[in-house]
Amino acid sequence: MKFGVIRFPGSCDDVDALLACRRVGEAVILWHADRDLQDVDCVVVPGGFSYGDYLRVGAIARFAPVMEEVAEFAHAGGLVLGICNGFQVLCEAGLLPGALLPNTSLRFIFRQVELEVVTQSSPFTGRCDPDQQLSIPVKHTTGRYYAPDDQLARMEAAEQVLLRYAPGQNPNGSLNDIAGVCNEQRNVFGLMPHPEHAVDPLTGPTGGLPIFESIRAHVTDGALV
C-alpha cells in the first residue's frame, strides 16, 4: 500500500511520519501546493506548525491546494490520518468534528503518555489488541479537545472516540480524556499524540506501530471496519 505525507511550510514531523509509514508500506511526500495525491491509499497530515499556525492553529493550512484534494479524497472514503497539527488542520477543515484549544496549563507539554484503545472498530485501530495500552509521546501547546456537549454525546454513542489518555494522564484538559477521534464514516482520524515517534525500539516504546499496521491491514487485507 502507499501512504502520502503532506508537507506544508512549517511541517516538522513529516520525515518521521514518512519513515514510520515505510515500516509498513510505501510512502511519498505530497507538497502542499500540488493537487496530485499520487494515487495514495492513505493521506497523513503531519505535525508541526503549518503556515506558522498564524491566526489559529491549522486555520490557514486548510486552504492549501492539496487540502481541497484531501477533502474530496476523504469524502470518497479515502483514509486520512491527522497527527497533532494535522489533527488541528482536519478539525479546521471540517473533516473532523470539534476543535483543539490551548492546554489548560497554558504550557507546552512534552511527555510519554499511555493511551487506551477505546475500540478496534476502525481502520486505524483494527490491529490493536483489546484493552491494549499504547505508549506514545505527546508534544503540543494546543491539544485540549473540545466539542459541544450534544455533539460529544453523539460521538461517544457512535464510538467515534478511538483513543483516550489513561486515567490520570490527560496532559491538556481535553474533554472525556479524548486523545483521538474519527469522523462518522470512520475513514478520517485525528490524534494529538505522535505515533510516528514511537515505531523504533532504538528510541523507546513502539506504541505507535499498531496504528500504522492497522492502516496497512485495512488497505491490503481488506480488513473490515
Binding site: L55, R56, A59, E92, G98, A99, L101, P102, N103, T104, S105, L106, R144, Y146, A147, P148, G173
Partner: protein
C-alpha cells in the same frame, strides 16, 4: 462576482474575537488571578481574545469573513466594530 464596491473608499473595521461563553478560558483565568497580586481587586470575568484590524471595501461581507476564516465559530464569539461604531456580533448559530 464583479465587485460593485471597487474604487470605494475602504472602511476601517475591527473584529474582536473572544472565547465562546462557557468554554474554559485558562488565559483569562490566569490574568484574573494575577491582577489581585498587583493590588487590583474587584475584577471578574476576564477573557483574553484577539483583535483583527482591516480596511475593507465591502463591510457587508465581514460576517462571512468571520464565519469562514477570521474566527472558528465553534469555539469563538466575535464582534464587528466599524469606524463609526458597533456594527454587529456573531456566534455559532446553535
Amino acid at each position: 462576482m464583479a465587485d460593485a464596491h471597487e474604487g470605494l473608499a475602504p472602511v476601517r473595521a475591527r473584529v474582536l474575537v473572544k472565547p465562546k461563553a462557557g468554554i474554559l478560558d485558562p488565559q483569562g483565568q490566569a490574568v484574573e488571578r494575577a491582577l489581585p497580586a498587583l493590588g487590583f481587586s474587584g475584577v471578574r470575568n476576564v477573557h483574553v481574545g484577539r483583535l483583527i484590524e482591516l480596511d475593507v471595501e465591502d463591510p457587508a461581507r465581514l460576517p462571512e469573513m468571520c464565519q469562514r476564516l477570521l474566527t472558528n465559530p465553534l469555539i469563538e464569539d466575535y464582534e464587528i466594530v466599524e469606524a463609526d461604531g458597533v456594527n454587529g456580533a456573531g456566534s455559532h448559530p446553535a
